[in-house]
Every structure is written in C-alpha cells, then in structure tokens.
Symmetry: C2
Subunit: 321 residues, 2 copies
C-alpha cells in the first residue's frame, strides 16, 4: 500500500497538481495553463505528474488521480465536457497511462469528475469529516456537486451522478448554457451572482459593488463578496436574494438525500455569514418537515481551489487499497 | 433465518397486510380501514399482523415490516405524516412490538417510509430487478420515492431520504399542500393530473374524459387514464403535457443520481405508452449530456397497490439476515 499519490485537476483555464499522503498532508503545488486540444491536455497532465514525481519521490511511479470538468465514465473516458470546447470522448485514463509508460512508469490512473474529486477531498480530509451522508456543492461558472451515501461516494450507474447544476428549479425560466430552462446554475452559480450584481449596479442599488469594479460591465461575483465582507448594504442585499436561490437547490438535494452535512465550495463562499445566513434561513423554510428532522449543517469547504487536485489524489489512494 | 415475514402498509384510508417469502412469493391479503387516531392505528396494525400469522403459520412470531406514510426515523418513530392528521411522533416500532408482546409474541419490527418500502419491493422482487442504482417514483395524491445506490436503499442520515415530491421545479409557482411553491407534486402527482383534467374538461378540450366522469367536478386522474387507453385524443393531449412535468422531476433525479432504471408506480401508470412515451421524450431532452450517456430505462412498477406491504415484508426479511 502506497503512502501518497499524485492528484491533478484539469480546469477550463488551468491544470493544478499536488501530492497527497494518507495522513492528509498535501505537498507540492504545480500549476500550468490548460491547452486547447484534447491530446495536448493529456500531454500537459503527464508533464505535471512527472514534475510532481520529481518533487516528491515517494509518489513516483505510484497511483495518479485526475479530475476532469465533465462527464467521466467508469473506464476513465471523458465523454462530454461543456467547458472544454472540442474535447469529446477523450480516453484520459488510457492516454495518460500510455504517456507515463513511455517514460518507463506503470502508474495506476484513476479519473473522475472534478466535483466528485472535490467531494472526496472534503469527505476524506475536509469539512464533511467522514459523514455517512453528505453533499458537496461547488459554486463556480456553473454548479458542480458530489454525493456521499452510507459513507461512500455515489457514482451512479454510468459514473455520472452528482450533476446537480442542471437540476431544474424554475421550469420555463431563463435559458441555461445547456439549452434547458431554469436550471439551478442559471440562478445560483458564481456567474449568476455576477449577472445579478450587474443588474443591481445598473439600477443604482449597489454603489459599493460598482465602485470596486469600476464599471457595471466589470462587475463580478467577487466584487459582491468583497463589498459584503466590508459591510456594504447593497452587496448584502444581493447575497440575501442570491442565497434564496442557493437554498432552493440545497433543499431539493436535502429532501432527496437527507445528508447530515452540506459542504459549500467555490470563491463566493468567502462571503461567510452574509451568504450562509440567508441560505440557512431559506433552506430551513424549504425542507419538508424541517421541524421534525435533525438539523442539517451547512458549512464552507475546507479546501479552496485545490479541492479537485487533492480529491483526485484521495481517490487514487483509495483505489490502490 | 426465517423464510417469510409479514408486511403491513398503512395508507391514509386503508391498511394492507401480506406475507412475503424469500422466493418472492406473496401470500395472504388483508385489508382494513385506517382509524383516525395514532394509537388506534397501531391497534389495527397489530390486528392485521395477528390475522396474517393465523393465515400463514410460517410467519407467526417472526419479523414484521410496516410502511408508514411520512417521515419515519431510524428508531421506527413516525415523526411527521401530512396525510394522517393529528398523528405526530408516533412510536410505531415500539408500540407495535409492545402490542405483539402482550399476546406472547417477540416479533422483530421494522418500520420505514411507505415509498421506501415500495422501492424495496421493486428492487428485490420487481421492476428494478436488483439494479445497482435505481429510483422508484410513486404517483398518488402526492409523489413518493425511494433511491437505490450501489445496490442498497439510500436511507439518509435521519432515514428521511427519498422525499422527492417536494423538490421545487417551478420556484414561485402554484402553492403546494406543504406550504411551499412549485413542488414537483403540484404539477405531476395523480391529484395534479385530476386538476389538469378538470381544467381541460371545463374548457371543452376533453369531452371523452368529461363523458366518463359525468361532470367537470367529478373528473379524476383515473378518467384520463381510462379515456387514454380507449384512444381518446383529449385525454392523450392531457397526458402529453402532464408527462412533461413528470419528466422534469425525473431528469432532476437522473442528473443527481444517474440510475440505470427508473420505476414508476401508482394508478396513473396504467395509462401505458400514452403516459410513458411523452415522459421518455421529455426526459431525454432534459438530462444533461443525454447523448453521451447509456440509456436510462423508465419502466412501470411490477407491484400495484400492494408494493408497500410487500416491500415492508422484504425489509423485515433483510433486517433479519
């Protein structure tokens, strides 16, 4: 049994790599830009793995985990990746293993969805703390997620479980990037927060946010977070309403899965109570029979932007057991 | 290890009892009305169990499973039952065991949500056929459900998983019996089908349905089912639109859990292809990356109104293992 593994997370713009050991320690941090074409992505991932192995000889030649932004099947093939244009049916597991073999390494490669990886990190080492039933929700450009039932990650029949961002919460509502209408991420993603903030700024309801961004067009979710942390009333009001949309989806997930803890990840969670308090209030109002249930905890993630890479390493370690 | 167990399903109006053996055979069928008060319900359940034991001596004194319409915690206490007015925090497991002890029996009593029981029946003996990942959805007055992940029923942290009827799919939409707005069951339950059919009948769009019911006020979902089975165009159009609402919720569940099979139960499923075909079409359009996934099967339940009682017996048998 190996004591550490390399974990790599492929995002739409950057690739992050790290090494995780069984004690939960995270070592080495490598970051490279994501190339445009599929095979070039695999070349870059292989390069990151070799750099990690050089930096951490204890991981060299051992298990490698990779998180990919899209639907990854059980064989480690990326079937569909809406944020990696042109990448489809890419054999990540096979292609990476081949590249590593070509330099003499016989690493075992595990590939999964990036949000599933982040869930594994929070469950094994982070805010979900080994809970029997837990949900992780990551707010970014879209909304990603991962589910834990009876102590194990829920993979689903084709390994596609946890695609919670496209849960319809507002049928007939605004059009989503996926082509559907009223998906949760239309209202509750980081991108949605930016749009709502631009609307508020344009209407003169968020001067503190506007001041930080410089112009209405430049307003992003992060400006709302910064202004809210500074106590700006306009930003707090934006998060209050945004939090209600977050709660709608969380309540749906809670009604379905009854987790003991829900972990929220992504940059907007830095807003702290200005976001989490309205989420908690609206969540309790929306869960069926909430008065009759144990309280579900809603907590911020422990890992930040490294959650996917750390979790990929965790999954690789677990697969090696 | 016992070879058979008694299963009892408590509904809003009737209590059904049966005996299930490990080969999947279902024997004896008892039906009594549901009394109004909580303790009287337990008296009636105990009476049904004693009748079953008399009819099937092989089950006498053995495991007993009970399905209840509401939130049942891990200790077998019914915390909340919206369709049993006045029944709250009823210790079903303890109260039933005490009643059976008073006649000299030391039966092991298992209590769970009725839809979870129905899911156990379909998974162990019915249309889900032992699938690794499956979902059961029951369309009645409301919508009930049960989830299977990695071959096991998903219970959740407090045993409240599977409350899918109150998943919000139409935020800000019509008010639900739960007090929320736009819950799935507002649009896609058997009761919702009846309401939609009355609207269609009142507007002159469903003469075949109206003829079967006698008056607009008398129109129920079953009249739509009967008319659709006879090929009535108005009824088929009602089911077409209703099926789209069914599909919205099924797609949400599928995006979240990626089941290989979805089992639909409840009287309206008798409509067959007139319901299932539009559901399947709208479902494929709503699942993220549907082209890139294996096809999820949507199938009618094998068990009818006895699913809950049979499944309660299945859970009792499994608990005895």
């Amino acid at each position: 049994v190996r004591r550490c593994a390399a974990g790599v997370d492929v995002g739409g713009t950057k690739i992050l790599g790290t090494v995780v050991d069984r004690a939960g320690e995270v070592r080495s941090h490598i970051r490279v830009p994501t190339p445009a074409a599929g095979e070039a992505v695999l070349d870059a991932v292989a390069g990151v793995v070799l750099q990690l192995w050089e930096a951490e000889p204890g991981a060299a030649g051992g298990a490698v985990g990779v998180g990919m932004p899209g639907l990854v099947d059980r064989a480690g093939v990326l079937r569909y990746a809406p944020n990696l244009p042109g990448v489809i049916d890419l054999d990540v597991a096979g292609g990476l293993a081949r590249r590593l073999r070509s330099v003499g390494a016989t690493a075992h490669v595990v590939v999964d969805n990036d949000a599933t990886c982040a869930t594994a990190a929070e469950h094994a080492l982070g805010a979900a703390g080994g809970a029997g039933d837990a949900v992780m929700v990551t707010f970014g450009t879209g909304i990603g997620g991962g589910l834990v039932a009876s102590g194990a990650i829920v993979h689903g029949s084709g390994n596609f479980a946890g695609e919670i961002g496209h849960m319809v919460v507002d049928a007939g509502g605004p059009v989503c990037a996926c082509g559907g209408r009223g998906c949760w991420e239309v209202h509750a993603s980081g991108r949605a927060l930016g749009r709502q903030a631009r609307e508020a700024a344009a209407a003169g309801r968020a001067p503190g946010v506007l001041e930080r961004a410089g112009s209405v067009e430049a307003v992003q979710g992060e400006h709302v977070v910064e202004a809210a942390l500074a106590g700006d009333a306009g930003a707090v009001a934006i998060l209050e309403r945004f939090g209600e949309w977050v709660a709608v989806g969380l309540a749906n997930i809670a009604n379905m899965l009854d987790p003991e803890v829900v972990v929220l990840g992504g940059g907007i969670v830095r807003a702290g109570p200005a976001l989490l308090d309205p989420v908690q209030r609206a969540f309790m109002a929306a869960v069926e029979g909430a008065r009759h249930r144990p309280v579900m905890r809603i907590v911020p993630a422990l890992f930040g932007s490294e959650a996917g890479a750390v979790g990929a390493g965790v999954l690789a370690l677990e697969a090696g057991d």
